[in-house]
């Protein structure tokens, strides 16, 4: 278990500030989209809140699942590293806990997680991890200034266009995910 700077890799709950959909009142489309989105979505306040707009949730989930889980391209642990670095940078405690766990499961180690919680800007157990973390921070904090100099380190460690696009997608979609988690509710079971 790692706790640092308000972040944790323990399992947290999330509470909605809106009224989550009541399953008994759900339309067939809402149930279908919930089941497409996540295995536990029927009991998740987050998915039940987003299910108020089922078609918007459907396309979001299709994008999210393809970005984070599709085979090939950038190794999944590295997509999770990008997600975790963005979540720490945006201060999203809930997303950080989920994606720290996913990284640990995929990479079978937690040393990088400790470093990201301590200081994402210098985090990484290898040149490759450090390049991924720095790119994730740059795209998160200054998308308007991003340039070739931010891409060059990814090329230098041998990333293909397809791998860079995978990383770009993983970083960008956590700009999306963090904002929903942080603006429609809050984590429970954590000292704020």
């Amino acid at each position: 278990m790692i706790r640092r700077n308000g972040f944790t890799d323990e399992t947290l709950e999330w509470r909605s500030w809106l009224e989550p959909l009541q399953l008994a009142a759900a339309s067939p489309l809402q149930l279908e989209v919930l089941d497409e989105s996540h295995p536990q979505s029927r009991t998740s306040p987050y998915y039940l809140t987003l299910a108020h707009q089922p078609l918007m949730l459907r396309h979001r989930s299709a994008a999210y699942n393809a970005i984070m889980y599709a085979p090939g391209g950038l190794p999944r642990a590295e997509r999770e590293l990008g997600a975790m670095v963005v979540s720490v940078t945006n201060g999203c405690v809930y997303c950080t806990s989920v994606h720290a766990q996913r990284f640990e499961q995929l990479a079978r180690r937690s040393d990088t997680v400790e470093q990201v919680f301590a200081d994402p800007a210098s985090a990484g157990t290898s040149e490759r991890e450090r390049a991924i973390a720095r790119f994730a921070i740059a795209l998160t904090l200054r998308p308007d200034e991003l340039g070739g100099d931010d891409i060059a380190p990814l090329r230098a460690i041998g990333m293909s266009d397809e791998e860079i696009i995978d990383l770009l997608h993983a970083v960008a979609i956590f700009g999306w995910a963090n904002r929903l988690m942080q603006n429609l509710g809050e984590p429970e079971g954590v000292d704020r």
């Binding site: 809106l18 108020h52 078609l55 998308p143 308007d144 340039g147 970083v171 929903l180 603006n183």
Partner: protein, 191 residues
């Protein structure tokens, strides 16, 4: 690098119509997904045939779901949240985030949707304030912001739609920024 960059710039300047004429027909039918440039391609300056346009299609599902999200978030009917309201929000978000090409895209869509009339939803100021805070610093989201949207007359389903739109824009403008940066650092001239 100089010669290549010049050629690239010249290609990028060719209009879409001309570019389509230059494409071999086989190239437009072989792809499993629509091969036309979508909103992200256009904002990033990518045309069919560019290496990065093709590289994006390696994740065809992401390309499709991103374009479908854009469409649903702006056009799906939502009580209390018109398409013109949403386009105003999108234009505001892209402007404050410095996403110039996307801002132009939403500006054009807004002119089309509103037919020159400014949208007049009384809730628009509260929506723009919520969108700006969420865009510039996601930590600023709190319960009070949700309550101010409710006081402005938005129901929970409209608040979900607005939050999804603003959060999506943060994603969309970062994908565009990343692709534009990749264009500035092409694969075969890396150090």
């Amino acid at each position: 690098m100089g010669r290549r960059a010049t050629a690239f710039t010249r290609v990028a300047k060719v209009t879409r119509a001309t570019f389509d004429l230059l494409l071999p027909p086989s190239n437009t039918t072989a792809m499993p997904t629509p091969d036309a440039a979508d909103v992200i391609d256009r904002a990033a300056g990518l045309a069919p045939g560019d290496p990065l346009h093709s590289a994006r299609r390696f994740r065809a599902k992401v390309v499709e779901a991103t374009e479908a999200s854009h469409e649903a978030l702006l056009r799906q009917p939502v009580e209390g949240l018109s398409t013109a309201d949403r386009l105003c929000v999108a234009l505001h978000v892209c402007t404050i985030a410095g996403a110039r090409t996307l801002a132009r895209h939403y500006e054009g869509q807004l002119a089309e949707a509103s037919g020159g009339d400014a949208p007049s939803s009384p809730a628009l100021p509260a929506m723009l304030q919520f969108a700006a805070a969420l865009t510039t610093d996601p930590r600023r989201g709190d319960r009070a912001a949700i309550d101010s949207l409710r006081r402005a007359g938005l129901g929970d389903a409209a608040i979900v739609a607005l939050a999804q739109l603003v959060a999506f824009l943060s994603y969309q403008l970062r994908v565009v920024a990343g692709l534009r940066a990749m264009r500035a650092s092409p694969a075969d001239v890396a150090p």
